[in-house]
């Protein structure tokens, strides 16, 4: 009994890395622009598709190549999303960008359905090999690989944010856009760069979801959007460590409940978890200390 619990917990936490990455994407864009980008999960899955289809069209088979292509394609999609949904809509009107990103979500989904004729496509696993046994516990190597790639992506992102000029500019814009502009930071360029960086991150997440599920389908987009947003809120808006911890937590939590209560009730408990957080800790796990909105 105990071992089943542990097994589902471990599997869930490992796959939860993908939720973390999507959550980081939402949180970063929110931190910099104070806007929600609802098309983010669909852009991520779209990028993963692009990687697969582009490499497939070129006759390649390497899973690594698919991953790199997915990240690059999702970065480009991120830039397009910025141009079409944010750049020309007044910043004082959050409802406008909310709606335009919904339109973008539907558009990307439909392009994917068109390109694949609505059929789910098989996705190559990053690594295949025998399961690792820890006592009675089995650790699936593809899940472990997903976890490792996720951690690596987060580390690179943290370095980028805290050790580079672009990161400095991004953090400046997120604190005070006007002051940042007065210091000579090109606001639109930093915003666009944030979209490209989060896009790349999303592409990696999308490819990892494809790799861990074994296939990709446009049906993944909506649940992923909801889970990503939940992770963002539970982790605390704008907090990257929060998004990471919350992603792993939600992943483990839902997998354990899936084991005990079945797949149809699983998400009900995730929503309840969110409500518990909203009532008792509305700021999330790692709430920002200063309120400057």
């Amino acid at each position: 009994m105990m071992i089943d619990f542990l097994q589902s917990l471990v599997d869930g936490v490992l796959v939860g890395t993908t939720y973390s990455l999507i959550g980081i994407g939402f949180t970063l864009i929110f931190g910099v622009m104070h806007k929600i980008n609802l098309s983010y999960a669909s852009a991520s899955v779209g990028g993963a598709y692009c990687g697969l289809l582009l490499v497939g069209a070129a006759g390649g088979k390497s899973a690594l190549l698919v991953f790199l292509m997915a990240a690059a394609a999702a970065g480009v999609i991120g830039y397009v999303v910025y141009l079409t949904c944010f750049r020309f809509i007044p910043a004082s009107h959050p409802l406008g960008t909310l709606m335009s990103t919904v339109g973008m979500l539907l558009l990307i989904d439909e392009i994917v359905v068109h390109a694949t004729f609505g059929v789910p496509v098989a996705y190559p696993p990053l690594y295949e090999g025998p399961s690792i046994e820890l006592g009675e516990l089995y650790i699936r190597p593809d899940y472990l690989m997903v976890f490792a790639v996720g951690i690596a992506a987060m580390t690179v992102l943290t370095l980028l944010l805290y050790r580079s000029r672009l990161g400095l500019a991004t953090r400046a814009v997120s604190q005070q856009p006007v002051a940042a502009q007065l210091c000579g930071i090109a606001l639109y360029r930093v915003n666009a760069a944030t979209f490209v960086v989060t896009g790349v991150l999303g592409g990696i997440a999308g490819a990892m979801i494809g790799a861990s599920v074994g296939m990709l389908s446009p049906l993944l987009v909506l649940p992923l959007t909801v889970k990503g947003l939940i992770v963002t809120v539970i982790g605390g808006l704008g907090s990257i460590p929060g998004a990471i911890v919350a992603g792993l937590m939600v992943g483990g939590f839902e997998n354990v409940l899936q084991y005990y209560r079945g797949v149809t009730e699983r998400d009900l408990y995730v929503m309840l978890l969110l409500f518990v957080f909203l009532v008792f800790r509305p700021g999330g796990l790692f709430a920002a200390k200063s309120e400057r909105n």
């Binding site: 809509i89 009107h93 539907l106 947003l229 009900l268 929503m271 509305p282």
Partner: protein
Amino acid sequence: MDFYLALLQVIGIHALIGLSAYVVILTGQVSLAQAGFFAIGAYVAGMLTVLAGWHLIPALLAAGLVAGAVAFLVGFPALRVKGLMLVVATTAFGEAVRLFFFNFDYQVAKGGVRVGPLGGEGFKQIRFFPENGYTTLDVLVFIWVVVGVVMALLWWMDRSRAGAVLRAVGEDELAAQAMGIDLTAVKVAAMTAGGVIAGFGGAIYAHYTTHIEHFNFGIVLATFAIAYPILGGLSTAFGTVVAVLFIQGLLIEGLRFLGDWRNLLFGALIVLAMNLRPHGLLDAATTLRLRRLFGRGGAGRDA
């Protein structure tokens, strides 16, 4: 002809869910819970007419009341947060309602057939309209009478003090609070009103399709609900109806000749519309111009 009548029925139902989101958005809150209230209305009204044998009108009112009561209860915890947090909280609530009906069984044997909601298979045989001999036109009239009543009430509210209070909260919470407006009371009231309207919409929807399933009430419907008022503009309730006509009439039915390409254009046109008219199709300036055109509300009133 029947095709256009059916289209007008769909537009009427979507107008109701759009208007339910409109009331909430007036206070500056984006609620993705409307599909949840809509689902509650649909199931409550369906169970009342099918299982309890009620007439549709009392069932409709009861559905509105139950959905409104749930909205009232959800409003208190949910409206403590705003912005993105509220979007997520209400999304989660809507999904929780959907998942509840996904796992909800309550079947009763009636005349040898078991009727009632049955989990994932949905709730079949909500046959009030056919059993009572309503024609398509009758149903259409019924739907638009309800829409008309709701529109009239909203129009009246918009011109009264209540409308000004809602808009004040939507424009600037801090300023509204400084004027002595109780923010929580206003937001919860708007949420409750939205819940009642969505409940009406759901009740009609259940009887219009005769078969409801949990996935009718997912995030897509919730997104459409907020899309109507945002696309239409918040200056009058008519904007919401214009947006429903734009989406259901033009984008969905009008572009049907494009076949598969229609779905592609759908998202692209929403993006385009938001870029060209960020404040909605019927924004404040257009409303003012229209008012002048019809000789009402001079420059002094709206300037």
